[in-house]
Symmetry: C2
Subunit: 420 residues, 2 copies
Amino acid sequence: MGVVGGGVVAALQDKRDLLVEMIGCPAELKGVLVRDTAKPRSHEISPSLLTTNAEDILGNPEVDIVVELMGGQDPAFDYILKGISLGRHIVTANKEVMARHGPDILAKARTRGVQVLFEAAVAGGTPIIAPLLRDLAANEIIGIHGIINGTTNYILTRMANEGADFEDTLAEAQSLGYAEADPFNDVGGVDAAYKLAILATLAFRARVKDTDVFREGISRITARDFLYAQELGYAIKLLAIADSRDGAVQVRVHPAMVPGEMMLAKVDGVLNAVEIQADMAGKLLFHGAGAGEMPTASAVVADIVDIARNLAGNVVPPAPPVLSEGIRVRPMSDLETRYYLRLSVSDRPGVLAQIGRVLGELDISIASAIQKETDEVAQSAEFVLMTHRASEAAMQIAMERLLELDVVSEIGNMLRVEEW
Amino acid sequence: MGVVGGGVVAALQDKRDLLVEMIGCPAELKGVLVRDTAKPRSHEISPSLLTTNAEDILGNPEVDIVVELMGGQDPAFDYILKGISLGRHIVTANKEVMARHGPDILAKARTRGVQVLFEAAVAGGTPIIAPLLRDLAANEIIGIHGIINGTTNYILTRMANEGADFEDTLAEAQSLGYAEADPFNDVGGVDAAYKLAILATLAFRARVKDTDVFREGISRITARDFLYAQELGYAIKLLAIADSRDGAVQVRVHPAMVPGEMMLAKVDGVLNAVEIQADMAGKLLFHGAGAGEMPTASAVVADIVDIARNLAGNVVPPAPPVLSEGIRVRPMSDLETRYYLRLSVSDRPGVLAQIGRVLGELDISIASAIQKETDEVAQSAEFVLMTHRASEAAMQIAMERLLELDVVSEIGNMLRVEEW
């Protein structure tokens, strides 16, 4: 009964009439697992419903649906498995468990004839899993581009608007409760990678593991990158990208420059958005709250209603999607895209020629370049370039070779440019 | 077997394997009703499947699902009713029939125990009906703001980008096939009103008729309105708006000024978008193709898969939503919003005082004003003002009284400003 759990309890109690109308009978709360029954709660709840013993919930034969909102792998994963084995339907918002063990959980649910729904695990209150499974059922999914971590999108939006640097903005986000004391899960892209693995698994109907996801966080982005991005007409966003080509998927979470006129460039603050490219439907964007008590509870209760309708109607629950094993994952070196590169260079003749030669040898051609901020005392300058499409493998070699040049003192940042 | 029908036939044939995987068994095409069996078809189809006799489809006991894609009220409505009475499940993209007779059709389907799905009737390939019914099941819907007519959004986008006038842009849209020879259904807001009635009926779970929708088209908008809108930081969009307050709904389709930073302001071209405000989930935006062969076919086939899964699994189909009768509809005069007013006025002293007096007497206060385009020969000028929040009833009286003033020669346009 944390933030989301409190919202679910409140909705089940306050929306009793609406839920009866939706389900056909009441959805009764039978018990809530808590750490401390004596802790004051923001939502009123009968103390007799609280328990510190998971057995009281899982083992109660009157419980049809177990709602898991504890987060983290342990003991949530065990509880979910136990619930399934006891024939309980499961609703969970647990992205970590679903990213790591989703296919196994769904296979077990299939065998046991129960439903496991997890709409809230990705993009909080924004529907994305049900639309992917239901509304895009006839589509081959070509690609997914998502902003699915509110914390980093808040930080990047503030940096873009205020010209502030990463560390200051992170500290502010922490003080406002938008970022955790240990922010790595968010700013390092771990959270987004979990969610992307879930989306990719469903979209491509094959197990994509969180460890398959290439992951790069936002901590290297500086106020100067935003300055250049804005000058060039781009936003900087932490994107979660999955695509499928020739039967192989690529999954990656990293900051990217997004053309300012694209809808994803306009997704600001803690909001989330997922754009899905599908062969028949074309490009679809789903945009809304990615977290928060009531939005996430909205998704959880929608899943509860979905299962409860089947129970009330004596309907055999639809089987979970069939997922294949062993899809090929294309490595990051296979990527081909445009790149933004910010270098600290010596302010002397011939620098551009040397950089151009390194890039040219690797078949990387420069689309545009900006030189700024000459420091006359240090005789250094900042040199920013945008490449045409080039291979990631070549780009990685290029960065090593550029650093070996006497005239390049530092690679300030490299950002991939995403246009789709 | 028109545009969308052709797409559905192609998908059923080309995606046989995917559909088997999704449904659990093949979805077999049993017949297609056409006007002329000899007409060449863009998609290959066995001539033995074509018929000009609806009875061959509706009366065939091997047909489980009847897909109605003829459009218009007659004879589609009769065919749908007949199909239901024969126990067929129905998939339709027919916004006119669903707007006018949706609640009756759903009630009959409920009695007969069949499903009637119509995802494609609103926003084509963009999922909106299923998310409203499924993902927002626990929510009270507060409001809907949609761009749900691609033709008008294309025209308005071109006008905004090219500085062109309405008539020229309409002619261009007609030559490109984006607008019909008789464009009234689109530019007069009729099409959007049908779709809004469907959305409002589902959102508020009460019968909202297409005739309940206040409707104003886009033909009065000029290039000059876009000039002012851009100067003031707004986009001009044909919005379909529904909201519920104190148990009464208001439903309206009219051009509106939308603050440039809102997501809906950025929906361009033939694309559609619907933003739903819900008590728990907050604001959700669904954005994508609103028409077109394959996007619309995507929604139709998703509905077919939904029903077919239930059939294949021997599942009792979920009952259609229960809709109440007799919801109160708030009249347009109840509206309170901000207004944009463009007037042709005499270019002489005291004009502003006279206009200000008329508005002041009706409690309409001016937020900002622009005077431009003085024509020295005619001694006339263009005067644009934005009001603070005011009542629609007062605004309508104000426009009459302003026209009675000697100094006002014409009301160029009045646009409602929507911020939500």
